[in-house]
């Protein structure tokens, strides 16, 4: 494959001009004149290398391989020359030099490494030619290599200079040589890998045996080499794996006589397959975990149709919840891409992967990383599978009928018969071709696809339900006080959040029969109060407020998406929400979820019980008094929407003595009641708005004023465009711009008269004490001064006889003094 591509890329030399005998060429006078006048211009003609031109134009088209061979031979000769030159230097008269990392370098080493360099240089040049084929990893590898070499260069040059005149130390030589040879073999192996890889890429069929060699290198003890080898193999396989699945010949087939070509192909295929199998086995060695995983993921993603894909998939799914972040990410993204690019494998892998993940979840008792389940979100369920085909069929039939009718009408015409038969034949052929095509490609037909999709769905929902059940179980377990079960490494309910998200997304695909169960689960989960009488137990197993809110949310979404067709009582969820609002703690719980539940459960709900709506209105207003502006704002937005929808609730805005006619059976508002229907909120007045209009946040205070001015009689049908979520996001502190409106404002301030209290600020100073202190101060200063002067004099007396140069003494004397001053 690679070869053919490469061959095409070779640019043929420009076509020769048509052969014209030299006699036939006629020069015009002008031409001659021009040449005569500008003889210098024509000088190049004499210098033309005719041989080269002949070779280029006359000879066969040269491929890159030829060039490569040429280069190689050239290099070889060059190397040999070098070797000869270096032998001249006596290797004995060299002293080893110890580098910083403790390695001893000898003159000999520098030579050898030079040799190695030459080789690598060569290899590199070769590789460079094929750069566009190589994948990134190899390129990186190469970059590493060159860097290392550059370092060596730097090291070697100064060494050489130093070593010139040193004497030998033979004792260490052997040891050093060993080390050297290790380094050398490493280099050699690397080069070998690169070479083999190049060969394979350039002509896989001819060089398929190199795969074995590469695999052998991968069995090396040196982990670095193995890693490099694996990556090279990955690059090679990615490129040379054919677009079909290899089926090894049966024994019968082997016995049959076959042409050379087929034999060659068979050999090629079997070798390829064996090598591939071996490569996959590398994953089991834990040392190469990351690299091996990279290989597996890349291969699965690139060639999901190829043999052993099941093994690959199993390996990838096994690592989907790996504690190693890199591996986990890689695996998850691979699975995701499998889900989103079903065309590559016809959807079969999706089913398998989902199945495997489901089993994985089961095996680990739902203690996995959330990412493991999040991948389900990438699955696409196509509801129209088959529908379109059916329609097509239907149309066809219809058309055929039409045609038949028409044809019957025109049956009189004789020629039509022939045409018809011709048409029939053509359609027959077309059918055959399409059948063949289907056989060749993996495109499964609609029926099969639908089947697979059902299977996928059932596996997905099985997983989801398992998680829900597991969560319920752990909560139940806590009440029995089972201290042995401790939360796993991923938190108490790691999979619940993605599970709820998934349920919300795929709820339309869920069978109606299960919805009842689902709602029951959700109800139980939502009502699992985290406030229990059991305070001593660390209730980490309990659901958080966010999770419970999410349960309510999912329940509502499920109902919504099924067009409220089900007769399920959502009352319990409202009760939960009514109480969860109070459990909410900013910072600990997600305000976004709260805002979303306000939106879905309150704003979007069409017909609400008046009592309940009033209870929520009151609670939200109270809530707004105690929390930050983001929460307050989303509560107020919801409150406004509720009031707009429920005309009668607007009675809360008016202080109607005694609650008026609307107040329900409960005459007085019970703020501590847990059931919204029993709170008697209709009997109260929204006094909160009065305080909220004094809120420091201008937006909230205006909002409160607007709400309090809503009219009771007039039915305001327009709804505010802002959703609670939007309000929450806009007013959260993270989004706060903190921009000060810096308009120049006049600040009129009463000038305060200078206060009389200033007088008392003057401390009373005891003059006697003060003068005493001053005196002390003076005495001390004078003492210091005189002391110093005395010393100076002493010093100068001492120094005078020693040194006659007065200037110097003076200078020296100044110094100590000034130091003391400082």
């Amino acid at each position: 494959m690679g070869k053919s591509r490469r061959k095409q890329k070779v640019i043929p030399p420009p076509q020769l001009p048509p052969d014209v005998p030299e006699e036939d060429i006629e020069f015009s006078d002008e031409d001659l004149k021009y040449v005569e006048e500008n003889t210098e211009y024509a000088r190049f003609v004499s210098r033309l290398d005719t041989a080269a031109i002949d070779k280029q134009c006359g000879g066969r088209v040269k491929t890159v391989e030829d060039k490569y061979e040429e280069e190689r031979s050239k290099k070889k000769t060059l190397q040999e020359e070098k070797r000869n030159g270096e032998i001249l230097v006596d290797p004995v008269d060299v002293l080893p030099v110890k580098t910083l990392d403790g390695k001893l370098h000898y003159r000999t080493e520098s030579k050898k490494s030079k040799l190695a360099e030459a080789e690598t240089d060569e290899a590199e040049k070769d590789v460079l030619d094929d750069e566009n084929i190589l994948n990134k990893s190899q390129r990186r590898e190469k970059a590493k290599k060159s860097k290392r070499e550059a370092k060596k260069h730097e090291k070697d040059f100064p060494n050489e200079i130093l070593q010139e005149e040193e004497t030998p130390q033979a004792a260490l030589l052997a040891e050093v040589k060993e080390e050297l040879s290790a380094a050398e073999t490493f280099e050699n192996k690397k080069n070998k890998l690169a070479e083999l890889g190049m060969l394979l890429l350039s002509d896989p069929e001819a060089n398929i045996k190199s795969l074995k060699e590469m695999l052998d290198i991968c069995k090396d003890e040196n982990t670095k080499i193995v890693k490099l080898g694996l990556l090279s193999l990955l690059a090679v396989f990615k490129d040379i794996i054919p677009g079909y699945r290899i089926r090894l010949p049966t024994e019968k087939e082997l016995e049959m006589k076959i042409s050379k070509e087929v034999k060659k192909t068979r050999f090629y295929e079997s070798t390829l397959l064996k090598a591939y199998k071996k490569l996959i086995r590398f994953e089991k060695l834990s040392v190469y975990n990351q690299i091996a995983n990279r290989c597996l993921c890349t291969l699965l993603e690139a060639v999901p149709h190829f043999n052993y894909r099941d093994n690959l998939l199993i390996a990838v799914v096994r690592n989907i919840s790996s504690p190693d972040e890199v591996v986990r990410r890689l695996c998850c993204s691979t699975i995701r891409s499998l889900f989103s690019n079903e065309g590559k494998h016809g959807g079969e892998l999706t089913v398998q992967a989902v199945r495997l993940i489901a089993d994985h979840v089961k095996a680990h008792n739902c203690q996995l990383h959330p990412n493991a389940i999040e991948v389900f979100m990438s699955i696409r369920f196509d509801e129209d599978i088959g529908k379109r085909d059916k329609e097509d069929e239907h149309n066809k039939k219809y058309k055929k009928n039409n045609k038949r009718k028409a044809q019957e009408e025109q049956n009189q015409v004789q020629e039509n018969e022939r045409k018809k038969s011709k048409q029939e034949m053509m359609s027959k052929i077309r059918d055959e071709v399409s059948a063949d095509y289907r056989g060749v490609t993996y495109e499964p037909d609609a029926k099969e696809r639908r089947k697979m999709q059902t299977e996928t769905l059932s596996a997905v929902f099985e997983t989801y339900f398992r998680i829900l059940r597991n969560t319920m179980y752990t909560i139940g377990e806590r009440t029995e006080e089972n201290p042995t079960s401790n939360p796993g490494a991923f938190g108490s309910h790691p999979l619940l959040a993605p599970c709820l998200d998934g349920l919300a997304k795929f709820t339309q695909q869920l069978d109606l029969d299960y919805i009842g169960d689902l709602m029951n689960y959700l109800k139980k989960l939502a009502s699992s109060s985290s406030v229990s009488n059991n305070t001593k137990q660390k209730n980490s197993k309990l659901l958080t407020v966010s999770e419970r809110l999410r349960c309510c949310l999912v329940a509502f979404k499920v109902m919504r998406s099924n067009l409220n067709a089900l007769n399920v009582d959502l009352q319990d969820f409202f009760v939960q929400l009514y109480n969860l609002i109070l459990e909410y703690r900013p910072g600990r719980d997600s305000g976004v979820v709260l805002a979303e539940s306000l939106k879905i459960m309150l704003c979007d709900d069409r017909h609400q019980d008046m009592q309940k709506a009033a209870a929520f209105v009151k609670r939200l207003a109270t809530f707004a008094l105690c929390f930050g502006c983001a929460e307050s704002m989303s509560a107020l937005v919801t409150l406004k929407t509720l009031l707009q929808k429920n005309v009668k609730c607007r009675n809360l805005l008016e202080n109607d003595a005694g609650g008026g006619s609307v107040s329900g059976s409960i005459a007085k508002y019970q703020p501590y009641e847990t059931d919204p229907n029993l709170s008697g909120a209709l009997a109260t007045v929204l006094w909160e708005l009065s305080l909220l209009s004094k809120h420091y946040h201008p937006a909230i205070s205006t909002m409160a004023t607007t709400v309090s001015n809503m009219n009771t009689s007039q039915s305001q049908t327009f709804l505010s465009a802002v959703t609670p979520q939007q309000a929450f996001a806009d007013f959260s502190l993270v989004k706060e711009s903190f921009e000060l409106k810096n308009e120049s404002r006049k600040l009129n301030k009463r000038k305060r008269e200078s206060l009389p209290e200033e007088a008392k600020n003057v401390p009373e100073i005891d003059m006697v004490k003060l003068s005493k202190k001053l005196k002390e101060n003076f005495t001390i200063l004078r003492d210091i001064k005189e002391d110093e002067r005395e010393r100076m004099e002493l010093q100068s007396e001492k120094k005078k006889p020693l040194k006659k140069q007065n200037n110097v003494v003076k200078k020296k004397l100044k110094n100590p003094k000034s130091k003391k001053k400082i």
């Binding site: 929460e631 909220l692 309090s708 301030k749 305060r752 401390p763 005189e786």
Partner: protein
Amino acid sequence: MGKLGKKARKFAKKNLQSVEKRSRKLKPFIKKKFAKRNERHQAGDKQEKKVEQQPKKRCQEEEFQDIAIDAVFGKDDDEVLRDGDSDSDGYLDELVNETDSDIMKCKVLSRSFLATCCDMVDKEQYVPALVRLLNWYRAACQYGHEPSGIARPNIYYDIEDSETFAKVIIFVLQKADHTFRSILGLSDSSTKEKILKLKNNPKWDSLKPLVKSFFRSTLHLVKQAGDLEIISFTLTQLRVSIVFLAAFPDLLKKLIKISVHLWVTGEETISQQAFLILKDISMVFNSECFDSCLINMYKAFLHDCDIPKANSEQRPFLRDSLVELCSQDVQKSYTKASVSITQLAKLLKMALATKNKEAVEKIHSGEYINCVDLWVNFIAANVQDCDLQPLLYTIVQVINGVAQLIIGPRYLLLRVKCIHWLNHLSRTSGIFIPIASLVLDMLEYKTTNDGEKQEQKLEAVSTVKLPKNWLKSQNFQEQCIFSVIELLAVHFAQWSFHISFPDLATIPVMRLKKFHERSTMEGLKRVVKRFIEQVESNIEFVQRKRDDVTFSPNDQQSADTFMQLEKQNANAPYTQYYQSIIDKALGTNKKKKK
């Protein structure tokens, strides 16, 4: 002699100026601070522009490290102290000329001679005598600090004994101002303008060098003196003649510099005196001086916050005095405050967005906290008189952000501080700032294991973050609950007569009840229960009154007048209860400080 010298040196080391001086020099920031001031003088009105431009530039840079809280007011060059350094020379020459012109050449000041001189000056305002006196005064001020080695014999003044030394200083400090004024024929309360008009006065020409000499010597004395009382006396006397400095802008700058330094580092009285000087300067002179004072004080204050030191009790004084200064000219301070608060907000935003360690640490630094504290107090002091709404709003958001930046028991003290600020702002401005959720979260800070009953005192803690082992102590939980009750009491006391009070208290009461149910500590339970009872009686009272009114929530005016009468009386048991809690908290705080 040698013996005496040793003793003297020992003493000097203990309490004298050289030591003080060295310790001052060890605080390098002071130098830096003062060094920066020079440019401002030259920049003149560019200053304002700079202040406004800088934050804009900073907006674009996202590197939060670049945002320094104190770098707000422009960066200054190190083009320092040029005049300050040179003046010792220049002014010496000046004096030499004067003395040369003088007929009497007396090198050693004797007691009798001083007495006659003083007499002449005091009674007749005899100018040559005053000149002499000022020279002696200068010599006294510089005594022991003369640039050594260059003692030129003809201008070398010596002082006979300690008494003369004390007398000359005290006399000049006490009488100089009066003498100058009487020579010039000025009253004691003459303004700056009058001093500037003096330029036309022929007497001024002869007197100007004398006044200048007086100021220079005095400033030198203030700078060099190590004794508390000498400095404070000098400062007090200097304050009277500040008006004269209008003629010497350089000296004025120098005085500002010295005063700011003394204000930040000095003892209580010195700090107060220094502040009074600064305040006088900023009141008497033009707005440029006000800016200069404000900025220098602001920077020095913030730098001081970073230095952990024993006498942190002085910080409230520093803050209050700075607020007092700011309140002198709210218009000007407003721009400064808005720049500074924007800077604070930017830092916070960065920290909220990234939550990385460095950014969070910056928020939790003493500098940041004290800066917020400063502006909160400034706003609280002036919000009733001026419209500071934008500042108020932003600072409240910033405080909310700081409180929510990192949630956890270890930041209890910071959170308590934040809520204190919010309560303070709410009380002074009369606007509503919800704090309940911030407070109530502290109820759930329970890390106490029942078995452990360590007693640890929270008093010594001044850091933002509490050490981990504290969280386990019983004391910590008590502290939590007491703080909750105290903060709620302040909050409720403010709104206890508001018509919305019952609703405001609903959620806190529910939460407290829940806590009461769950808690196992009897002592705390009792406190909480009492609080709940009081609040409930308050709720009931307001509810009863509320049921009688006829207006609706949209009638804001009526709502505002609701129960105003009762509020005036404040005899309700719950009001007294709130007050007692607040007082108690104040008392414990004071105790802690002592």
